[in-house]
Symmetry: C2
């Protein structure tokens, strides 16, 4: 095979993760090993940077700077949320032709993989040799064909640690109820990671709701009341996109946005807390951890960081090897020790598909997660130390 | 002075902090040095444990367990939010008499110091020798007579790190606006710590509102619009108790709790984001970090932890020395290097008083914090590494 000489472009798409810059470092360091990649350009603000031809020449910079950036949240190149339109595919390809861009590494979720697929097809149809590889990235963990997605392990680690810490705070005060809200859309991978906060069955959270299952107000009230009666407090993990039994976001029935000027969505945990206030006369509060869930520098999974790097590296290796139109995947070995290697899948398999939690990983009542999920997710999030529970080791005083 | 032999009781009051258990360890380890303290009992769930005579005999336990617990959030003994009533003071004293409790170390904020004062006065009036010392604790940092309060430094560190991380996430995407909500009541010490996230003047957050100053919807809209026009994004730090120009919580004017069943308070950042959505037609979101602000195990200030320990230790030393009716304080040395030692102040000075941010530490426009605050708070929160900003070091490619 003749070597394909030309420029490589790397771009980020959608919301950043805690480790998206580690994938960038993987792309960068691997590209530098291959002389046929004459330059590596980072597109500023993702595909917008390609349209506007705003590129940074990464080879002209100190590798130590790229390496340092790989430990920071946010996107070092800048990202964007732009829904790529059909006419854009041609535009992207024209830019690539103009600058002899022969390698394109596109880091994103299923929307981005669809864009990558279209550009790849267009290049093939027009006889322009382009090696295009998708680098998976999403805290939602909802890409198919891969065991998991870079970004998920760290986001899961953050949420599990937050649930552990807030749960312990609430547990040590009487009569507390709180809803802890994770990001998410249709898939419950992230909210389910609250289960990693538990070491023993009675550790908080006592309830975990996943968006794969609808949640009626009646179930919520019944569940929280039962937990509160049993334990004297309640910690409930919810996903911002949780829907009610009508398939609507909670609070949508009550929306009078004109009068109040605020939308009811984006406010789930507060609405659920208000239901508990009203129905059970309990003081419930809400914590919406929001974007910290994908950006906390203090809660990064080292496994996730390493795998994000490997995915970037594998994308370049595949392209150098002549592959195009594929996305890097993570494949878990079946052994007792956790181990993942990278693989490849056709972009067509991934584009616009969505992987939900397997139904059997949610309990029958729809208010908790099964052990199979914990077995799956624990190695991705990394070790989460349990907090000491002094009350179990302390002996009553003579007076007590 | 004759040695006063008897039992010591330690209790926690109000919301836990990240370092409240470090104060417990300080009390524990110092008590063990003094043979006149025949036992150290931890009251279960604060003053409720005293009423119910639910005590744990801490001397009967492995010191290593107490030491390990000092690194966990939540209250190792359990705490409570109970407004102590006048008739309770007598009840507390009777319990102490019954068990020959001669030392009482009460860890809390200004409410608790008022309780401590009353119990101390009652003991003196009735001729019961009791050495009662307050151990300061509050993330709100609103106690008078002390340079700062144990718990504040870690909460400030958490919020500053969260603002840095979320701010960097938002900064790397175009056209983002978000409100980051800190805990707080009347004092803005905690929300002000968002300023510690900045290394350079143009680092986020661009706006910080403190509850010492009211905020009108008009000012908010004008401020956010100006920042957004200048920077293309906006990160705004707010305190959950921020009030509008009428002195009311935002959204209180619109409250129809019966129809909707939820209260409008507890929802500030969402309401402010909705104002921006409506008035500026910008997509604004909110992150309500809530209780993670006082419980994050990953974001503890080592200075804060050490000082919390010292305050517990100093309380015991004072009591052994014959002092009663006082609270431990932190006194900052005037030297160039940050250094604090402990002091004492009359409980009467502290009880029910509240320390607000000095007016001159808030800028004239009421939307930012002055450098004097940063000088004050930075050593308490500990070093906060800046995040790399690749876009400043990256050179444009030939195409760019």
């Amino acid at each position: 095979m003749d070597k394909l000489r030309g420029v490589a472009v790397v771009a980020h798409s959608g919301g950043p993760t805690q480790v998206i810059n580690a994938s960038l470092a993987g792309v960068f360091e691997e590209c530098r090993k291959h002389e046929e990649i004459t330059a590596l350009w980072g597109a500023r603000h993702g595909i917008l940077g390609v349209f506007e031809e705003r590129f940074y020449d990464l080879y002209r910079h100190d590798p130590a700077v790229i390496s340092a950036a790989s430990r920071a949240p946010g996107s070092a190149l800048g990202s964007c949320r732009y829904k790529v339109q059909p006419e854009d595919h041609q535009r992207i390809l024209e830019t690539f032709r103009r600058h002899n861009v022969r390698y394109f590494f596109y880091t994103g979720g299923n929307d981005s993989m669809d864009t990558a697929l279209k550009v790849s097809q267009l290049a093939a149809e027009s006889g322009y040799e382009l090696r295009l590889i998708g680098v998976p990235k999403t805290v939602d963990n909802d890409l198919v064909e891969t065991d998991h997605c870079p970004g998920y392990g760290s986001a899961a680690r953050f949420f599990a640690c937050a649930v552990r810490d807030i749960g312990n705070d609430l547990r040590t005060l009487p009569r507390r109820v709180s809803f802890l809200e994770a990001m998410g859309r249709n898939a419950g991978w992230l909210v389910a990671s609250a289960a990693l906060a538990r070491r023993r069955p009675d550790d908080p959270p006592q309830l975990i709701y996943c968006p794969e299952r609808s949640l009626s107000e009646e179930q919520l009230v019944t569940d929280v009341e039962a937990v509160y009666r049993r334990d004297g407090y309640a910690v409930i993990a919810v996903c911002e996109a949780q829907r009610n039994e009508k398939g609507k976001p909670f609070g949508a029935d009550h929306a009078i946005p004109d009068a109040f000027g605020w939308s009811v969505t984006g406010n789930l945990s507060h609405i659920l807390a208000s239901v508990i206030n009203r129905r059970l006369k309990l003081r419930a509060r809400s914590e919406k951890l929001g974007l910290l869930g994908r950006s906390s520098a203090a809660c990064v999974s080292e496994v996730d960081r390493r795998e994000a790097y490997l995915c970037g590296q594998a994308a370049v290796q595949a392209a150098i090897g002549g592959v195009t139109g594929m996305m890097v995947t993570l494949e878990r070995d079946e052994g007792a020790e956790y181990c993942c290697t990278t693989g490849l899948t056709e972009l067509d398999n991934v584009a616009n598909a969505e992987r939900l939690l397997p139904p059997e990983w949610i309990n029958e009542a729809g208010n908790d997660i099964m052990p199979a999920f914990v077995h799956y997710a624990a190695p991705l999030a990394g070790p989460i130390d349990p907090l000491p529970r002094l009350e179990e080791t302390l002996a009553p005083a003579a007076a007590g």
